[in-house]
Amino acid sequence: MITYELMLLLRTMPKPELHGVLKRIATAIFDKGGVIRKLDNLGHKDMPYKTSSHGVVYNKASYFLYEFTVPPSSIDTLLDEYGRDVDIIRRRIYKKNEENKFKCTLDEELQPPPYRKEVQEMIAKARRLDKPKFSYNNGMDYYPFQK
């Protein structure tokens, strides 16, 4: 199952009302057969840019983060549902990042170009386009073509 993260920006409102909105958002997830794993309050703060939604311009928002699991097919309907919600300024659903395991390739990248593997591959690829050339050391003691 894929875990998703829902980044929510809610308009400024008193606590009881906020409680109702958060509950409404959660029920929408439960209705799709989902499970909520985490709910974070990231605080009420200034947005980096002003946003208008549902005909109102907002400069401040309360940020919330839901971590949940739903069937992937219901993501679109969820987004659509939240888009119609007047209390939500902005919503984004991302897949939760998995732990990356890879080796740092900086050392190879800092090599001079002819030592870099990708450059070597590129040159080899370009060489493949060369026209075939007659080689003289093939055992024939005469040149078979017109000079």
Binding site: M7, P48, Y49, Y63, R90, C104, L106, L110
Partner: protein
């Protein structure tokens, strides 16, 4: 027994100034090919003077890049234009640079991070790299 004495003599004799790897290499040779020539050099040994491999900042400290960590991401952003610095300036490896760029874009559309400037409260954060001295020259 004779052997051990000679070996230890060798160690104390060469001791200073050479990397430990190199000394060990010499000592090993004397033990393995003692039947033929104890002083024969071992040509199969790895390069004792090989430099340590360079790593980028994020790989070295094993930092996970995430779009919610805006403070970290804003260090890869220009304070003047909000542009993401490229790989020749940030000094990250290819994969990490890709991740950083992806996460910054995610943070920007989620209204966590500004697009045309750096968040003023992060302006005095320490510099991870020197903008004036890129690893490779660039066209700007």
């Amino acid at each position: 027994m004779n052997f051990l004495v000679r070996n230890s003599n060798l160690r104390s004799f060469i001791g200073a100034g050479y990397p430990i790897k190199y000394i060990q290499g010499i000592c090993n040779t004397s033990t393995s090919s003692s039947t033929t020539d104890p002083d024969a050099p071992d040509f199969d040994m790895e390069n004792p003077f090989e430099k340590e491999k360079q790593q980028c900042v994020l790989c070295k400290h094993n930092i996970e890049v995430d779009y919610k960590n805006v403070r970290l991401l804003s260090q890869f952003q220009s304070p003047y234009t909000g542009r993401i610095y490229s790989r020749n300036i940030t000094g990250l490896c290819k994969r990490q640079q890709q991740l950083v760029e992806r996460e910054i874009k995610k943070a920007q559309v989620a209204a966590l991070m500004p697009t045309y400037f750096k968040q003023p409260s992060y302006l005095k954060d320490p510099q991870l790299f020197d903008i004036e001295k890129p690893l490779r020259p660039h066209r700007f």
